[in-house]
Symmetry: C2
Subunit: 421 residues, 2 copies
């Protein structure tokens, strides 16, 4: 079994109310087990649309993974279409019913009719018990065809996929191995990185693919290799990585063996460095408004190295908590090299941490002047060896500005720890 | 012209490395002008796959919007396939070339060959000037068929779509109006909300659709109406909203006329309340690690009401900055009702704000005990009338825990301002 397709059901995707994170998650998980998805499609909550997608994809693909439309409310019709597609009835599944009753009673929620109806499943399917919600998954295996239907709530889908669907598919996916590795860079533009790498064909040697994926956090390089064995694939990936690193080593902060668990954000790379070197950190933020502390504390175990953060949005807070001298604020303004340094020194002193980072800037869209435009930001880092400050201009909308400024701040911490700044 | 489809090109989507935010953005924008997207498909960076999608969708839909694969690197092949599909050559477009040279020279970046090649476009297409990057968009209009190709970088695609593609489609979309309205609720489960609303058919009167969309931030209700005129659609939407509000008013914190700009997150709803009532706010966070401050400061203009935030991750920080008495930490522990209240009172006192919010809890995955399990969180609010504290248990993974805890904190602030707590 080699080719798979994903069908996502839901008007909310078509009208752009939500992004299709379910398809992305399925893509990751199947990729990890060497199963190639060659098409993903989205259809609305309409009987005919769902039926036509089922027909087209069931005929053309070995494995079809469906999500969405299994909820308890009137707008969820997927189960009905599945039953009609396989020409079977809906029947009550007692194990599922028990699970629904158990889950709700534990939370002291009365079981109502729409909840009980969630235990109806198409005759002949294997019901996939949902321990994370009330709608069961459904699996049909007929000959070489594999057809799985999962709820649309991401958390439930993710658990049902990894618990039941992936292990079953893995057994069928044998015969080829797909390996990806992602190298994450920051601080260099896409075309500059492309030029720096030089002859891409020489790097790939005809045995791998290389993709460039830019975002406000930096450019990711994805190496993809298909091979007969894991060993062969790993060896090709390693060789391509070695050649890329020989040219762009200092821009790379993360390298992964696979997706998901393996991929590391900059805050995790920094956290790992802090842990390894037994260093503690604190943060003083103005324009990033707590985002740097938030990113650092998104990492499990960060309490071992993150001591405190201060979001000194007002000048008063900068003076009172961080002890930034009033004369600096008056003479140079809150957005200045001098204040960035005083903030970094202030938070380091009151927290007693080994290293500290500070950010002051103008997130916009208002508040800019000809001298200090929207997007201007100063980043300071202080440690036992002294201080460093960097100026950037990120003339972006507010959220992207915060992304870029926090990324540049974490990058300065990383470089400082590694002795590159 | 009534039905549209979106084709997204890129291996990174199929393997789940990135989520398809482009399709979502296009979905929003087309929905706003009454053009219905009935299918979205994703294909990889493979010649045959792209060509087959072009053929299938060009035949079956009036409008086809394509994104991805227009970058300067070797893995981008969309332009070549477009030229072959329309059976034309690639020709140099001098205006585009000038734009590419202009953009790069302004940034002091030398123009290299791969940059110049971005000015090649299929003969007979209308080149859509990209003022936000170097890859031009391409538009083919033949008879009733509309075929637009845009870069995959979201920022560039968004600008090209809104600047050129949407206005042209709008002129063709006449004849029907689609209106959506989203009511955002928080603090009530999906099935409980469904039961509370009662007879949905009566609410909708056969003239609207209602969808339930649950997430960790609450359940969104989406009303959708198709009608001949804007006035008719608006009036039906308003009537449905009125009926829903008569039953679930207190759970609703946001109502939108359309998507995108109109949809309001809880931090924006709270910001609006603070502004209207001329109140200032401060935040003291432990387990949410700066996320509440981050969310509040994501709103443009928040410096008018947000004074400061403290991320008191350590007990030392709680005592030193927030003046939480050591005996409370010893007697009740950092995660307790007493400490949550002391944190809220402490930050309010040092900041001098009208209202303050505090959070202390156990984000996990480690650190739980039988008495205080992972997911336990106390939320405190202090204002001139006194204090209030709420206990929740959100036994979720770390990031979802932060989502839920910050949502519950903002909701408590909202209720407190409105006199509901």
């Amino acid at each position: 079994m080699k080719t798979a397709a994903v069908i996502t059901i839901g008007d909310e995707i078509l009208i752009g109310q939500v992004t299709n994170t379910n398809a992305a998650f399925i893509g990751q998980k199947l990729s990890e087990i060497g199963m190639e998805i060659t098409r993903m499609v989205v259809v609305g909550d309409e009987y005919d649309e769902i039926m036509s997608a089922f027909k087209e994809y069931y005929e053309n693909f070995d494995a079809v993974l469906v999500t969405g439309g299994l909820g308890p409310t009137h707008d969820d019709i997927t189960k009905k279409v599945v039953a009609d597609f396989f020409n079977v009835k809906l029947v009550m599944n007692n194990s599922v019913l028990e699970n629904v009753r158990d889950r709700l009673s534990k939370r002291n929620i009365p079981v109502i009719k729409v909840n009980e109806e969630q235990a109806l499943v198409p005759e002949g399917c294997e019901a996939l018990m949902n321990h994370w919600g009330t709608a069961p998954g459904m699996l049909f295996e007929k000959g070489n065809k594999f057809f799985a239907v999962m709820p649309g709530v991401p958390y439930e889908m993710q658990n049902i996929l990894t618990e039941y669907v992936v292990p079953r598919l893995k057994a069928k996916a044998a015969g080829q191995v797909i390996k990806h590795r992602v190298l994450k860079t920051t601080g260099i533009a896409e075309s500059a990185l492309f030029q720096l790498l030089g002859d891409v064909d020489e790097i790939l040697g005809g045995r791998a693919k290389l993709a460039f994926l830019p975002s406000q956090f930096g450019v990711r390089l994805r190496i993809t290799v298909k091979a007969a064995t894991t060993e062969e694939a790993d060896s090709i990936v390693a060789e391509v990585e070695r050649k890329i690193r020989s040219k762009a080593e200092k821009y790379i902060y993360s390298s992964t063996g696979s997706f998901g668990e393996g991929e590391v954000d900059l805050e995790e790379a920094v956290g790992k460095l802090l842990r390894e070197r037994k260093l503690t950190i604190s943060a003083a933020e103005s324009c990033t408004g707590g985002y740097i502390s938030h990113r650092i504390t998104n990492i499990s175990g960060s309490s071992a190295y993150f001591e405190r953060g201060v979001v000194s949005y007002s000048n008063k807070a900068k003076m009172e908590i961080l002890h930034v001298p009033e004369e600096l604020l008056v003479k140079f303004g809150a957005v200045s090299e001098e204040v960035a340094l005083a903030m970094a020194e202030g938070i380091r002193k009151i927290s007693g941490t080994d290293i500290s980072v500070s950010v002051t800037g103008i997130a916009g869209p208002t508040g800019g002047t000809p001298d200090k435009p929207v997007g201007l930001v100063y980043i300071g880092v202080a440690d036992s060896a002294g201080t460093v400050v960097k100026k950037h201009i990120f003339p972006d909308e507010r959220i992207r500005f915060k992304d870029r400024a926090s990324q540049a701040a974490l990058e300065l911490v990383r470089k400082r720890i590694l002795g590159l700044e």
